[in-house]
Symmetry: C2
Subunit: 455 residues, 2 copies
């Protein structure tokens, strides 16, 4: 990534692209072709995609252009190519869950989120690589900043594709840290909205208590524009919040805050695992924010978040992957098998005690958000680790996923090796708009400073 | 019960009483005094009450009368005395949960349902007997129709109080069959609305998946009038359905159906446990309904409902009563201890498999309710059993409680001993109004026929 993407079609962000697609100064055909060219050039090394049919993508793009040329009304993402993680069903493409047991699997149906993207006019570009069943076993994708390093998981391909300008946005999912972590390692914006914001119908079910759909893009406003299309009640997913007005994320992200946001810097019990490079980067961030940030110590109960998530996730994996384990355990990751086997031993009492912690932590957070607009905390322990045999630790994400709080990773910091370090900004459950507004303030203020420094 | 209650104040039903309280032809003082007189006369034998402070009840009644006399606007139950099961918190009375460990316990707070009753103008008459922790161990209450028989449980006192005209209505709760069963044994109407209709905040929590608040009264319309006050979203109970228009139960109960309702007669896997007297009573009911009723065989999965409820309930009891078990197991019912000990061994996988059955059965029911307005099925195996050492079997209620479907017990049938036999009418989850309308049609048609036979 050399900066040459600026001015190029594949370098366009969501908001700019959809504006140009709408006013006719750009065709979906040209934009999609530019993304496909980019994929052709870089994917042999990055391997972000598990299914790609360029002709099918171009056919969708051309249909979009014809539709628009006829003067029909167009949706908010009309003509925009988007990548979809391969645990999300698509009626016209396979869905293989990163698992050899599902080679060539086709459900013939669109997940609700895919149907919503199509209804908004998006071009479904192809399917991006996931770890096995969106858990730990890595697949082939490399980190675009250094192919010797992991892109993170489980939404590995989605993060790598957006980072390497193969697609302006991508869908991911997070049961533990699978959107925030790869977004941080690959240096893109990653967003996991409040639990219940986005339907999971047609998405691999690992844990109905934890599974959350998220997305990656290259700016806060790009995240918000796609998020607006994805959010909303779905009768097919009882976990989604009931019919209500849309969250209006883009409008909220662009809103001027009445006063500059106040951030709480929370180190969490995981701070000891954070690498020196992260400590330094966050000191830099704290200095930058000055009196807009306050170090804040979370109540003790937050230390139990990681273990609570583990317990719920393992027990739910044991139930939801039982059939796959029974028919093909020898083909599955031994670490996944261990999780399933241990998860099967967890008692309902321990499982429900863990689940009960959500309400306790939620109540604490509600109080904290009376005083702060967002919690700032690392997204990962450090830069993307060397090697491709692991996708890194999700521990910095677990507690927020467990609570169901909205979280965003902002690629604002850099480590020693020049690799991205994500700033995780956590918001109040149900107020994703305020989170994006605060994030946009932070991102823009930070960029301005970098520009000033460079000038 | 001799019929002399007709024309007496204590014999007034909810709708008639609130109409007279409203137009001033009856004072709350007189009505409450009549109920207290009735209690004084009959409770030494029936023992429906665990807490009763006549002076405090009269003080509430007099306050209601003064309020009305001053010309203030009054609520829908203004001046009406109501009984409250003793697992529901009251700020001005003890809440002992039928358990010696909680002798004299006072939370100092009103449960949401009690607060709603007070806001509607009701007089909280006192606390009615529950089995220990609303599970199996019976307390002192006898069946008003035959003091040698159980009133059923766990809402024993509420059913007995309404049946013996000590109160026109009473709150109960149902985790398995604790509203429907005692209502059936005592010959009153018992209603357990759809799961999520009534807040459980301030009610003993046995199983958040199963616990449901219900009520007893002496007619369908009386049930509906009180139900209208109780239903509604409560942020303190995440199980309640989101803000929405009220169910308008009384208006729906009084509505003329566009066509006479059609009933499905479902025998369920429990039919073999039903006594001959129940078989006969339901044959009589089927003959009466003629072409308005069709025998209907439920899909196989319904046979698993009782076991699914048991598994969820026992595992939840093990968690929610752990502290009580730890500090005083020797004072608890050995059967309850057994449930807690076995419940602690249930794995999360088995627990969640059981919970998953709710959606499966719900989907079947949704189809069945395209063709029928209600499912008719026994409320219990037969008349109230002889003896006070057991409260009878909840098995005929378990599946409907598990699904969260609304259910009503109608005291329409009689057994050989002349004791009431309840007809359980089950409705579609979320359409409690249609259930009450169909029930009212059935009850009125049945009474007309009895009157014609008598004439």
């Amino acid at each position: 990534m050399t900066g040459s993407e600026k001015g190029s079609l594949y370098g366009l962000g969501v908001c700019e692209a959809v504006a140009r697609l709408r006013d006719g100064s750009l065709s979906s055909r040209d934009l999609t072709a530019a993304c496909l060219e980019r994929i052709k050039a870089f994917d042999p090394e990055i391997e972000a995609w598990v299914f790609l049919d360029p002709e099918h993508a171009m056919a969708q793009a051309e249909a979009c252009d014809r539709w628009r040329q006829k003067g029909h009304p167009v949706g908010p993402l009309h003509g925009l190519p988007i990548a979809v993680k391969d645990i999300i069903e698509t009626r016209d493409m396979p869905t293989e869950y990163g698992c050899s047991l599902y080679k060539g699997n086709r459900s013939g149906q669109d997940a609700t989120v895919v149907a919503k993207l199509r209804a908004a006019g998006a071009v479904i570009l192809g399917k991006t690589v996931t770890t096995e069943f969106a858990v730990y076993r890595p697949s082939k994708t490399k980190n675009p900043h250094d192919p010797g390093r992991t892109p993170g998981g489980s939404s590995s391909g989605s993060a790598a594709a957006v980072a390497s300008f193969m697609a302006p946005a991508a869908l991911g999912t997070q049961t533990n840290g699978s959107v925030i972590r790869p977004a941080a390692y690959c240096g893109v914006y990653g967003f996991k909205p409040s639990f219940g914001s986005i339907s999971r119908a047609g998405v691999l079910g690992l844990s109905s208590f934890l599974d959350q759909v998220g997305l990656m893009a290259r700016s806060v406003e790009d995240i918000a524009a796609v998020g607006d299309v994805l959010c909303g009640y779905d009768a097919q997913d009882p976990g989604t919040a009931p019919p209500s007005a849309g969250p209006d994320l883009l409008a909220r992200a662009r809103e001027e805050a009445p006063v500059p946001p106040k951030f709480a810097f929370v180190k969490t019990a995981q701070w000891a695992e954070a690498e020196p490079v992260t400590h330094e980067a966050f000191e830099q961030m704290a200095a930058f924010l000055g009196d807009r940030i306050t170090a804040f110590e979370l109540p003790r109960e937050f230390d139990e978040g990681v273990e609570a998530l583990r317990r719920v996730m393992w027990a739910d994996l044991a139930k939801n992957l039982a059939k796959d384990y029974d028919r093909g355990r020898e083909q599955l990751d031994p670490q996944l098998c261990h999780m399933i086997e241990e998860g099967a031993k967890i008692t309902a009492v321990d499982y429900n005690r863990a689940r009960d912690l959500r309400g306790v932590l939620q109540a604490h957070l509600d109080e904290i958000f009376d005083a702060f607009d967002g919690l700032l905390t690392p997204a990962t322990a450090g830069e993307a680790p060397l090697g491709l045999e692991s996708t890194g630790s999700p521990a910095f994400c677990s507690t927020w996923t467990f609570i169901g709080a909205p979280a965003l990773s902002l690629p604002l910091l850099r480590g020693e090796a020049g690799l991205p370090i994500g700033v995780q900004l956590v918001g109040q459950r149900g107020d994703d708009g305020r989170l994006l507004r605060s994030a946009n303030w932070l991102a823009k203020r930070f960029e301005e400073t970098l520009d000033e420094d460079a000038a």
